[in-house]
């Protein structure tokens, strides 16, 4: 015979203000198998927990029901409480009489009756609980980082410095990400490349870091501590062992393609490094644009005119490093943890027809302006209008393009645009003292250390005229652009004739962020930003154990925040990899091998790939649960027609006894 203890919590007035707690306690005393019942002001307090531990010992209780808040809140706390008194932690049932009762009802009588029912059900269930034991599994002490921007670089360096192996996968030919495209950084105006390049070099030189550029993650299997990842290494057509990065090939290549790095404002050859400080400083051949590769492709069909054979790079390479035999290759690696740092791209402003829809050459995005201002950019750091190469004197900035705009499906604030526009206004004036900047803004959001001071500087010191209002239309008038806005502070429409218009385009996740999330089984929002396990308390964890997220793939943030975020993810990874084994939750599904008919309906519905096939001694193929992967969601239980699958801690028998207790009254 069980001896069940029931502990009802007042939760201050949260429960006690609505539910008549003494009445619930009294009712509990008369429930079957209940040996003891009592109330607490705050059960989660040290005093409350001590009273439970004492009662278990003194009353020789072997099962416990706690009627309090949601189990999401304190179940783990109370499991430790009963374990401290010598009980198996799974011989505990939480009855939620706060979120499910006192918070949603106002009538005290009804709420009390419902609380009594809820407690009665919990008592019936806990009577059928069994002791469960967690298991230990081993782990691979290596981390995978997806994305080599500043966040990924920081995370890689921190994990590697803690002594763990790191593989950093980057889809571009170089690491560095968006930060490498920037000229200066706010609010200190340090040169972006000057502070980023040393970190990139550190990554390349760190003995614990393996850098896989021009590579992508294809598939992820396994679970926390034991991930198995297929990585596609795209053919670079260059043997990196032989290549010295001398640059002869990319200077000789006759092909010119719009440079992605320069936002199409400059060009690059077909064999290229994206920018001078690239890491690794060795080129790749862009197969789609290489003349000889086009010739080889033509040769297969001989359709259309014969393209020229080029092979100039092969001719000039002093170390014979060009290797056209390279093929795309998929490698499989094991990891204990994964950090996703896939970053952002800027909003494509061509959807704004009223701003020209991308057809006015002198309406450019802020990232394009960064390239024009950069000394390493297509104009050598001179800001020249794309249309005619002249020096712009009247420059209009428009904030919130692709941000705070439901019309284009981007209601969120991109957080960095106010600050980088202030930087642009300051820098433009530094480039050319005759420049007059106009900034159309809705609000200047300058929350952050030294940010407000910096934003003020743009207005106070460089004479940028800030106009509060969103621009409605830009149109070409002769050589210049007419900008129609409202100064909403004075309440009158304004018109400006501009030489150059810079659109402060917002942030959105990189292409395929959603596909990567699907491969990793983590969630993402409607804009494809990845979703953290808790926006405040678990900002770099995800709902999938062992997968971490950081940087702008989670939401808009600036460089200091990205570095901090990357470091935070690294700390979580290091904590995980510092363990010698991992404890798994025993609340998983189990298969009754006698009842299973091998239909695998369970496998179809399992979101965690936790169902394996297993052959029994009598040669039947049946389902078996990988307990490390199983999250205990219970979908398989519902899908199983013969009723062979059960969920520990929530068995059909346990749930049925709750229901029966309720309906029998």
């Amino acid at each position: 015979m069980s001896r069940i203890g029931v502990f009802v919590c007042h939760c201050g007035t949260n429960i006690g203000g609505v539910v008549n707690v003494p009445e619930v306690v009294e009712a509990a005393r008369h429930m079957p198998l209940v040996a003891y019942a009592d109330a607490n002001k705050y059960t989660c307090s040290e005093v409350g927990q001590a009273s439970i531990r004492d009662a278990i010992r003194e009353q020789r209780l072997d099962r416990v029901v706690i009627a309090s808040c949601s189990p999401r809140m304190h179940e783990n706390t109370f499991r430790r409480t009963v374990a401290a008194a010598g009980l198996n932690p799974y011989l505990l049932e939480i009855s939620n009489i706060r979120e499910h009762c006192s918070w949603v009802h106002s009538d005290s009588k009804d709420a009390t009756a419902k609380a009594i029912d809820l407690v009665r059900m919990a008592v019936a269930k806990v009577a059928r609980h069994e002791s469960l034991l967690p298991k230990q599994v081993g782990l691979t002490k290596r981390a995978l980082i997806i994305g080599g921007g500043i966040t990924g670089i920081q995370a890689a360096l921190d994990i590697a410095s803690a002594g763990h192996e790191v593989v950093l996968v980057e889809k571009e030919p170089s690491i560095g990400g968006r930060m490498s495209q920037l000229d200066k950084t706010f609010p200190t105006l340090d040169c972006s490349a000057c502070i980023l390049t040393p970190k990139m070099v550190d990554v390349a030189q760190h003995p614990n870091i393996t850098l896989l550029t021009y590579s992508e993650v294809k598939e992820v299997r396994g679970f926390v501590g034991n991930f198995e990842v297929d990585i596609l290494k795209k053919a670079k057509m260059v043997d990196y062992v032989k290549c010295t990065g001398c640059g002869t090939c990319w200077q000789a290549c006759p092909e010119r393609i719009p440079s992605e790095f320069d936002m199409g404002l400059g060009s690059r050859p077909a064999i290229y490094i994206p920018f001078a400080q690239a890491v690794p400083n060795k080129p790749v051949i862009d197969i789609a644009n290489c003349r000889y590769e086009k010739y080889l492709k033509w040769k297969e069909t001989e359709e259309g005119p014969e393209p020229p054979q080029c092979r100039i790079c092969e001719g000039v390479c002093p170390t014979e490093a060009i290797d056209r035999s390279q093929k795309d290759e998929i490698i499989t690696e094991k990891f204990g943890a994964v950090v996703v740092t896939t970053g952002f791209k800027t909003f494509d402003h061509s959807v704004y027809g009223e701003y020209g829809g991308g057809r006015y050459p002198d309406v450019i995005s802020s990232l394009e302006l960064e390239r024009l201002m950069s000394a390493a950019g297509p104009t050598g750091g001179e800001v020249l209008r794309p249309s005619d190469g002249s020096h712009p004197k009247n420059v209009v900035f428009i904030q919130c393009v692709g941000s705070r705009d439901d019309k284009v499906g981007r209601p969120y604030c991109s957080k960095v645009c106010c600050m980088y526009t202030a930087k642009h206004a300051i820098m433009l004036r530094e480039h050319d003292h005759e420049v007059q900047c106009y900034v159309f803004y809705i609000d200047v959001r300058a929350g952050g250390k030294d940010f407000e001071e910096f934003a003020r500087r743009a207005q106070d010191e460089t004479g940028a005229l800030y106009l509060r209002g969103r621009v409605s239309q830009i149109y070409q008038e002769g050589k210049n652009l007419k900008v129609l806005g409202e100064d909403s502070l004075i309440g009158r429409p304004v018109e400006i004739e501009a030489d150059l218009v810079v659109l402060a385009t917002g942030m959105e996740p990189s292409d395929n962020a959603d596909l990567i999330a699907q491969k990793l089984n983590i969630s993402y929002n409607t804009y494809n930003f990845l979703i953290e396990a808790h926006p405040k308390l678990r900002p770099v964890e995800t709902q999938t154990d062992g997968i971490f997220v950081a940087g702008t793939c989670v939401g808009p943030r600036d460089i200091p925040d990205c570095v901090a975020h990357g470091g935070a993810a690294a700390a979580k990874v290091v904590a995980l990899l510092s363990q010698d084994s991992l404890t798994t939750d025993p609340l998983t599904s189990i298969v009754d091998p006698m009842k299973c008919v091998g239909c695998f309906a369970c496998k179809e519905v399992c979101p965690f790939n936790a169902i394996d096939e297993q052959v029994t001694r009598d040669k039947r193929t049946i389902a078996s649960i990988n307990e490390s992967l199983c999250k205990g969601c219970g979908l398989c239980v519902v899908a199983c027609r013969p009723g062979a699958v059960n969920l520990r801690g929530f068995t059909s028998q346990q749930l049925l006894s709750e229901v029966l207790t309720l309906v029998r009254g």
Partner: protein, 274 residues
Amino acid sequence: MHATAAEYDVSTRLVCQKLGVELRELEDWVCCGASAAHSTDHLLSLALPAHTLKQAEEKGLPLAVPCAMCFSRLKFTLHELENKDTLALVSGAVGKELSTAVTVKPMLQVLADEDIPLPIAKPLSGLKVACYYGCLLVRPPEVVGFDDAENPQTMDHLIERLGAEAIDWGLKTSCCGAGVAFARLDVVLKLSHRILSLAQKSGADCVAVACPMCHANLDMYQKDMTVKLGWKTELPVLYFTQLMGLSLGFSPKELLLDKHITNPLPMLREKKLT
């Protein structure tokens, strides 16, 4: 259409005849009420177009609408009638059982259909045209469902098919001042002047329009613009159907090109198109 915009009426009929598009004028169409009705009485602004829609429905024909304002009001009415309660209410006002089973298209869309071959007799080579759509042909997009609301292309493509050059310019869909000409001519002058100036600055020889109201505002007041706003030249404003007619071989006289207040004939002669 029969009076101020006779040029549009006549040229549309000629072009349709030539292209084999059979037009039947609804005998009892009534005015849509324009902004006058929807500024003063919401139900009336739905009932007037609904009456016309009903006639088209009874005839079982799609409705080709030359005027942008009428098109807008008819489309808006159709859009509103999607709501069952509105349908019942407006049916009560019209005194007939209404439905939304009527196709309404702007005349521009009908005639710009690329499946209708254009037997070009005289290509309009060398003529630079600023296509002006006005506000109501393309707005609001979810109601009219016609072309791009910010940078429409239908008329541009049509004009290019006639052998002329459609220039790219930024005020294709800006407002000309619409119906406030009587009451606030100053507003119409300012708005229309801005449109004409940009068209001219962008290199246009003329402006093509698809709406009698736009035409009136852009064509009629150029002299006033000279007096009030220092508008120095004249820029002919033609209906797109007149340009079609010209390229299909009709004479300027047949197309009533001599009826405009701003005379387009000198320009056309200079371009050797008459």
